[in-house]
């Protein structure tokens, strides 16, 4: 079981991978990826019970994760590779022709660790609920996790799914919102205010937890609490406050790095702030 310091070291490498991947093709989404690095490292290196190799699409008796906000594919790919789903050298192919690492994640190219295509927003919660229901039908006690962007909550399908999950007591699902309060056109408050998120999810019948998604110790603690709330008749939502661009000072505090790649100089500045702990790919 890795220590918090070890998990933080993995996270630092994941952040290096993210900025290098995005820089290499001058495209992709670094901001949200950097913000969600701690959470995804915690999930794949500590919280989830899963078998990277051999990868099994059905994932019976394994915990499953669904990335609904598919544009943060750089962090997803890095964490999958670093946790053993595929060779880290394949990160070099991100967004290039003939790659399995498409701009947004897909099952279509057979990339281990990806169980659903995502990118068009709002669909992943329904998918996670379906997978959770199949686990119940199969008497499989493992859990389903999903991650959603906060801007993504502006999609109506999310609220269809929210209603359904409570009505059907989907209590083997722990969903999480990346609450960085930024979207492409500006702050959530300016574009389309989500109002009181906690009240909203509670009103939809979900058990709601809150955490700082950039503090490893808090992530582990709150996710443990979330696990202990499963099996009690309620779906669980973790509202995770993060900083878009976390770990790279000039990318933090604005929506500007949502979908922009750093140039050579900016890459060097970013890498100087992120310790190389596991070896660059």
């Amino acid at each position: 079981m890795p220590t918090i310091i070890e998990l933080e070291k993995i996270t630092s490498q994941v952040r290096r991978d993210i900025v290098r991947m995005v820089h290499a093709v001058n495209s992709g989404h670094p901001g949200g990826s950097l913000g969600c690095s701690d959470y995804l490292v915690a999930l794949y290196f500590e919280i989830m019970n899963h078998t990277p190799n051999p990868f099994d699409m059905d994932g019976k008796n394994q915990d499953l994760f669904f990335l609904s906000n598919g544009h943060i594919s750089p962090v997803f790919y890095s964490v999958l590779a670093r946790s053993g789903y595929f060779n880290v050298n394949e990160l070099k192919t991100f967004r290039k022709l003939n790659s399995r690492l498409q701009g947004h994640p897909t099952t279509h190219e057979g990339l281990e660790g990806v169980r659903m295509s995502s990118g068009s927003l709002g669909q992943g919660l329904s998918v996670a609920i379906g997978a959770a229901q199949t686990k119940k039908l199969n008497n499989d006690n493992s859990l389903v996790y999903s991650l959603h962007g906060d801007g993504e909550l502006q999609e109506g399908q999310i609220w269809e799914a929210a209603m359904y999950a409570a009505h059907n007591k989907i209590d083997n699902l722990i969903s999480c919102i990346d609450y960085n309060q930024q979207q492409i056109d500006g702050s959530i408050q300016d574009v389309l205010d989500l109002g009181n998120l906690k009240d909203k999810w509670q009103a939809f019948g979900w058990q709601v937890l809150e955490m700082n998604g950039n503090k490893m110790e808090e992530i582990l603690s709150i996710m443990e609490t979330a696990k202990n709330l499963t099996g009690k008749g309620c779906p669980i939502m973790v509202i995770m406050k993060t900083e878009m661009g976390q770990g790279v000072d000039f990318m933090m505090g604005s929506h500007k790095w949502h979908g922009v790649a750093p140039n050579d100089e900016q890459l060097a500045t970013a890498l100087a702030q992120l310790e190389e702990t596991l070896g660059d790919y």
Binding site: M116, S117, S120, Q123, S126, T134, L137, E160
Partner: protein, 316 residues
């Protein structure tokens, strides 16, 4: 002309419902989802016999498609049920990303397709669904013609791995089909020499009626049922067309994007020849009885006869 008779009329949606009920008894992995139209889709018996494998999602079709896609992970075979309009147009992006692009084993089962939905009018009479679904890579598209074929198709798609769109309808229509249903394999209904009539769905019975009228006029029509629009049985289509040298396609769908389109692509590449299309010509439907609508929009045996005569006259 081979004789086709029927002793009863039944709706194709009942073929779906009865097929699904049998699947529920035979295959424990089959699950069903419905968006508040259980009675209309004839899914009640499956629900009654398999309450744990039936999922009522309410009026939330996008969510239904996503849940179905997720349910495949772990080995379930989900059948979704709602009207054809809400099965396709309303949820095209959900089908595209979560089902087709994700290669998920979901069966999208769509009732009340086309004009024969009747009095509800154009908001519900989708005539573009075959086009949308056939454009999706990897999607199988099936439009059976009667109760028997719909029931057979429903059972067959459970054993086919991959996404399927199964389209059927509301009105009671003649039950006449006794041929075995195999996905992607056209069914020869009548061998002829003068014109090939390729028909799908409710227009298959009309094509048979047209064949009898044509026979009285001394025209020997070959009639083939194309129940699977994708993948298309190109071999059967070309074999017939090469013999008769002219074609009529017939479907309860927009001409743009329908069966006729698919056949025209094959013919234009392999052996160009006259083709006439019986279908809806770039217009929305309206309220009316199914029979009135089929007559007004030219989806009748008479329309097929006229199209056949025109196609024959265009032969060089």
């Amino acid at each position: 002309m081979k004789k086709y008779t029927y002793t009863e009329k039944k709706d194709t949606r009942s073929g779906f419902g009865d097929g699904l009920t049998e699947l529920g008894r035979e295959n424990p992995n089959v699950v069903a989802l419905c968006a508040d139209l259980t009675g209309s889709l004839k899914m009640n018996q499956f629900e009654k016999e398999n309450p744990d494998r039936f999922f009522q999602v309410g009026i939330a079709e996008a969510n239904m498609i996503g849940i179905a896609a997720g349910m495949t992970i772990g080995g379930k075979i989900p059948f979704t049920g709602t009207f054809a309009n809400f099965s396709t147009g309303r949820v095209y992006d959900q089908i595209r990303q979560s089902v087709a692009y994700s290669d998920k084993n979901v069966k999208i089962c769509a009732s009340h397709a086309g004009l024969t939905l009747g009095e509800d009018g154009a908001t519900h009479q989708i005539l573009e669904d075959i086009g949308m679904m056939k454009m999706l890579p990897g999607m199988t598209v099936i439009n059976p013609c009667d109760y028997n074929q719909t029931k057979q198709a429903t059972k067959a798609i459970a054993n086919h791995k991959g996404p399927v769109y199964l389209r059927f309808g509301r009105p009671a229509v003649p039950v006449f089909m006794n041929e075995e249903f195999i996905i992607g394999k056209a069914i020869m209904l009548n061998e002829g020499t003068d014109v090939s009539i390729f028909a799908t769905g409710h227009l298959v019975w009309e094509a048979i009626q047209a064949g009898e009228i044509l026979e009285q006029k001394g025209i020997n029509a070959e009639i083939i049922n194309i129940h699977t629009i994708k993948p298309l049985d190109e071999k059967a289509i070309l074999a017939s067309a090469n013999k008769t040298k002219c074609i009529v396609t017939a479907e309860e769908h927009m001409i743009n994007g329908g069966l006729g389109d698919s056949i025209a692509q094959v013919i234009s590449r392999k052996n160009p020849m006259p083709i006439e299309y019986v279908g809806v010509n770039d217009t929305f439907g309206e309220s009316g009885t199914p029979a009135q609508l089929m007559e007004k929009y030219g989806l009748s045996a008479d329309a097929i006869v006229k199209a056949a005569e025109k196609a024959i006259s265009r032969k060089s």
